[in-house]
């Protein structure tokens, strides 16, 4: 949970963050009380989407950037819909 710790340190010292993590990490990220978290329905090691699935990867990034701007309090979790689609 290295990245969760980095996020907490950054926020405490004035740098806003957004974390993108896979479903398997959801409970752990929630327990760390991060400011802004986007959860993807993907397997570990393919956080933003399958290799070559640039459309999905881009959607995930855009969701994270939107959340970065829109969150007004911590503990905001956005669960992205969709499926992991390799071979696209």
């Amino acid at each position: 949970m290295s990245v969760g710790h980095v996020a907490r340190l950054m926020e405490a010292d004035g740098i806003p963050t957004v974390v993108i993590g896979v479903k398997a990490f959801r409970d752990r990220l929630v327990a760390m009380h991060l400011p802004r978290t986007v959860i993807t329905p993907h397997p570990m090691g393919r956080t933003l989407g399958a290799p070559g699935d640039h459309a999905t990867q881009r959607k995930v990034i855009l969701a994270a950037l939107d959340l970065l701007e829109q969150a007004t309090s911590p503990d905001v979790i956005v669960d992205l819909p969709g499926r992991y689609e390799p071979g696209k």
Binding site: M1, G4, V18, G45, L48, G52, Q57, P74
Partner: protein, 228 residues
Amino acid sequence: MENSKETFEEFKNSFNYGSRSDLNFKFLKNMSDEDASLFFQGLLWKMGDTLNDGDFSRLVEHFIETQAKAYAGAGRYAYDDAPFTPLRAPLTQLRLGLMSSSGHFVDGNDPKPFGAENMSQKEAEARIDDFLKVEPQLSVIPVDTPVQKLRVRHGGYDVRASLADPNVNFPISHLRELQKEGRIGELASEAYSFMGATSQLRLLNHTGPAWVKMFQEKKIDALLLVPV
């Protein structure tokens, strides 16, 4: 194992840095024998359907669901407080940084963990316990680095997707594109990656605070983080 039969527990645990090490399936060790056996049984049954219709998405979903179930729970780092800094302006006016625990680095700039030259992915997996005792090494990656020049090594996950397309865990191409399109004011000139399997204590008390200071000095206004 010559004289004793391997138990099911030994079998499922062997995927977790054991004789059948496969980081995609290391979660099997977190599961009870019963849940793990249900995973295998379900996998084989669904494969029967896939043999008929060629649709392997059910196998993918079964894998993802089981992996999530195996990792469910708060884990070791549950906190009560929730530090928060609001964004002070729209992103179109800010400088955004990228940091991932994917273990990427630029070809020719290997962080050489433990002083090892050209450590392989296999060696990194074998030395996972050593990595968990030391602080992480940060790889600085200029944002204009072509993805073909990115290398990756990480003792904690299957890096094949990260190798095939670094953007799955280190979305540098997408951020460059979004900067060009004007969605982001400016991308910090350097992005960062490190191997996330590391000493959390050292990260919290030493490395992390040093990174915060560095980001402040580089006037990074906000950070996109990807845990792997």
